[in-house]
Structures are given as structure tokens and as C-alpha cells.
Subunit: 112 residues, 2 copies
């Protein structure tokens, strides 16, 4: 049982679009990620996914709606909903999602 | 599907120790709360509980350990672990926990 300092965890890596696991509870993971540029459109069939902006700005492009998130804002992408995420500048995000969630259907995350 | 601005949600209420529900995903709630002073020692038998500090500082007193959390830090209290939370000044927190979690065993939270 140890507290987690989010900034410290973010200082441990530089790669974009590679969420790291920083906490686990109730079969869910807390992850942090650095993102910049565009990520491929994808969906998670059985998992809702929360994006919370720690620094910067993230656009989430859905089929019928685009959402622009700034620092201190979050958005929940419901299961089954296709989304494409875009960040013009380096942006830091926190993710909440079930342990079963794969990044794009095949990739797992590393614990830091 | 609407984004949530955490500061805006926090501006909607003033009461301490009354978490409000601001998001729901995967049978979990995202809540925000304003706290100041001491809350009674309690535990949740089946739910882990995450405390993330948005502003201020929170001490979590466990049986064998005290944890002081500052802005940008979080701690997960595992299920079954007694905890008492103390904030010297007004502190704003984000909580992540299963929908089944009651605040102290009997109280439910309001959606805002």
C-alpha cells in the first residue's frame, strides 16, 4: 500500500500512446499516458473507458460527435463506441478502464 | 455523452464529506468531494476505494500506516482496510469506486 505521485510516474517514460499501469482496484486499472499526434480509430466491445486530462488538450473524435478535452476535464467513451484520439501538442492523460481492456484490441500495458 | 469539467462540478456544492457522482463506467462511479476536518473511521468489505487529490492535502490514517496525499497524488484503500480521513484545510478529491460502495455503510451519493 503506497501512494502514487502521478507526475513522478509520468517522468519515468517518454513514449507516446503507450499507457502505463499505475494502480489497480476492483478489477480496473488506473493508467497514465503521454500522447501527441493521432491514434487509430478503434473501439472496445465490452469496456467503457475514461480519459482525464492532466496536462494539455485531447480531441476525441466519435462517429457523430467530436469532444475537445482540456486540463481538468474527462470524458467516458462507452463500450462499443468507435473513437479516435488526437492531440496537437504533448498531452498527459489518466485512464480508468477494466483490466481486460486492450489498447487497440491486442496490446497490453506495462506496470510502472 | 458529455464531457465533465471537474472544477465546474465542484462549484455546484459546498458541503464537506458529501461526495457527488460525476461519472459512471463499468459499474464504477467517479465522484468528487470537498472535505475538511475528520471523517469517521470505517471500511468497505468488498470494495477498493481510490482517493485522488485535486486541491489541498488529505491524510489517510490506516491501522498500521498513515499516508499524506498532496495534489496530484492518489492512494487506493484496499477492501476490508479500516481508514480515517483527515484534512486540515478544505481539500478537493476525486473518488473512484464500485457503484455498490456506501459512504460509511449506509449513505448513498447524489448525481450532479
Amino acid at each position: 500500500m503506497k501512494k502514487v505521485n502521478i507526475a513522478e510516474k509520468l517522468s519515468l517514460f517518454k513514449e507516446y500512446w503507450r499507457p502505463r499501469i499505475v494502480g489497480e482496484l476492483n478489477d480496473q486499472y488506473v493508467k497514465v499516458a503521454k500522447v501527441k499526434g493521432e491514434f487509430i480509430r478503434h473501439k472496445h466491445d465490452k469496456e467503457d473507458e475514461l480519459f482525464l486530462i492532466l496536462k494539455g488538450s485531447l480531441e476525441i473524435k466519435l462517429r457523430k460527435q467530436n469532444v475537445i478535452l482540456n486540463e481538468g476535464e474527462f470524458f467516458i467513451v462507452p463500450r462499443g463506441v468507435e473513437h479516435k484520439t488526437v492531440a496537437k501538442e504533448e498531452t498527459h492523460i489518466l485512464l480508468f478502464e477494466p483490466k481486460t481492456t486492450l489498447i487497440t484490441g491486442s496490446t497490453t500495458s506495462e506496470v510502472i
